[in-house]
């Protein structure tokens, strides 16, 4: 099978700026061209835009604004995991032979319509994600004695990691006590347990094996796992397990012939603190129920191998950009270019990105 590599990237700062979606998309694309040697607009066969924005025809608009006339151009939307879904689509165009080089740009605004889960009648009036997250948190506390302090450790750790991410929404750090003293959103979630919507964009360039050789330090996509179990909350029988994540992780590990112990650096979808704990368990880093103590240890030992860019909680969560930003972080880590965030000797990386109470998940594995 044709191999596919990440060969370039660009980011905007994540912020609450009132910038248009077009402007966000073009800034990340410009940043990618500035960072990447040996790429011309004419080389690009595919332009995919990952977004939840309601604006139509954005990939054609982005292509025109940046002087690209691609063969294939369209939007990919799958809520919070639109970013990795776009990367999987671009991968498939390359592997199929339809394309050699694909540009994937993810962006959303702070007021993005993807934040309200309006389509799901099973959520009743509780359309905001904080409600499912609260119920998941409560169930995990009940079953595994996970505490509010354990949850706060996820937030404190990820904010600390974000301090060295120049694109993060905020570089402010918080202690476990600060998190516990932040406003209660519900009885089970503090404000600092939640990622925040913001404006931001991230872009990656993917290339086929033949073409990747002309770029510096290509990072190979070795494993892909994706699973959608449902759209509504209705199918999730076990509130302490993210079934789609479990299945996607197994697929990715099988495809890459990599095991969880081989992973050096990881980006997890911490939309809420409980999600990081559950993802650690469901991907298999620890056994079910041990996610909280694992995270406490990471925080206590200042180990940043899980969510080194600060995760969604530390970096901000512009929905369509998040999955792409996660892939950029792993790419930089495997290229040994992550500066103050660098994990020593990182050769294998994992990205976990998901949507709407883990009804859909993507797991990607990368190798230098």
């Amino acid at each position: 099978m044709n191999k596919v590599a990440v060969v370039g990237y660009g980011n905007t700062k994540f912020s609450n700026e009132d910038k248009s979606i077009e402007s966000l998309l073009t800034s990340a694309t410009k940043s990618l061209f500035d960072n990447t040697k040996n790429i011309e607009q004419d080389d690009i066969d595919v332009v995919l835009v990952s977004t939840n924005d309601n604006t139509k025809y954005l990939s054609a608009i982005l292509s025109e604004l940046t002087g690209i006339s691609p063969k294939i151009a369209h939007t990919v939307e799958n809520l919070c995991s639109s970013g990795t879904n776009s990367i999987v689509s671009a991968y498939s165009y390359i592997v199929s032979g339809l394309a050699d080089i694909a540009l994937v740009v993810g962006a959303d605004r702070y007021d993005c319509p993807g934040q309200i889960l309006k389509w799901d009648v099973s959520r009743g009036e509780f359309m905001h994600p904080v409600f499912w997250a609260s119920v998941f948190t409560k169930a995990h506390k009940r079953e595994f004695k996970t505490t509010q302090e354990d949850l706060a450790a996820v937030s404190a750790k990820n904010h600390t990691n974000a301090k060295f991410n120049p694109h993060a929404y905020s570089n402010k750090t918080y202690s476990i006590d600060d998190v516990l003293q932040s406003k209660f959103v519900t009885d089970d979630l503090h404000l600092l347990d939640c990622s925040r919507p913001c404006s931001g964009a991230s872009a990656v360039l993917l290339a086929s094996e033949n073409v990747a050789k002309k770029f510096e330090q290509p990072i190979w996509i070795k494993g892909i796992g994706q699973k959608t179990t449902s759209a509504s909350l209705a199918k999730n029988k076990d509130l302490t397990t993210m079934t789609s994540t479990k299945i996607a992780a197994k697929q990715a590990f099988d495809m890459a012939k990599i095991q969880v112990n081989d992973i050096d650096v990881t980006e997890l979808h911490d939309a809420f603190t409980i999600c990081e704990i559950m993802a650690l368990e469901d991907i298999g880093f620890v056994k079910k129920g041990d996610g909280a103590s694992y995270v406490r240890n990471l925080y206590d030992t200042q180990d940043n191998k899980i969510n080194p860019r600060g995760g969604l909680i530390g970096s901000g969560h512009p929905l369509g950009a998040t999955g792409v930003a996660q892939v950029i972080e792993i790419t930089q880590q495997l290229q040994n270019k992550a500066e103050k965030r660098q994990i020593k000797n990182a050769n294998v990386g994992l990205v976990h990105n998901m949507s709407a109470a883990a009804t859909s998940s993507t797991v990607l594995l990368f190798q230098s």
Binding site: R123, G124, F131, S134, V135, A139, R142, A234
Partner: protein, 111 residues
């Protein structure tokens, strides 16, 4: 609006049963999500089980399971000192205004 939403607006919670394989179809749809046959509509059995809950200020909300299959998030009119996961709850009212609303009360006792 869908059949489900129209009926909710009138205060009725209706669900769709498959005319062929008899599966309860949830979320509601015009076709069975098991065998794609047409569905018939009926009123739901209002008695169910509280799966898990949380609280926002004075409002308690939680996941309720009805007829052993239908899971949804509703408002719980239950004293916070009396509530427990797994308890019997019944649908007290439902409506539709910009989105569905479901309210549950305990099966026994007052609220």
């Amino acid at each position: 609006m869908t059949m489900f939403e129209n009926e909710l607006k009138k205060g009725n919670f209706v669900i769709s049963d498959c005319s062929s394989c008899k599966t309860i179809v949830w979320p509601p749809s015009d076709y069975c999500n098991n065998c794609l046959a047409h569905v018939t509509w009926r009123k739901i059995d209002p008695v169910g089980k509280l799966i898990e809950f949380s609280k926002k200020e004075e409002m308690i909300f939680g996941i309720v399971e009805l007829e052993g299959k239908i899971r949804l998030i509703g408002t719980l009119k239950i004293n916070s000192s009396d509530i427990s996961e797994g308890q019997c709850v019944k649908l007290h009212s439902c409506s539709y205004d910009n989105g569905p609303q479901f309210t549950f009360v305990p099966c026994n006792g007052s609220y």
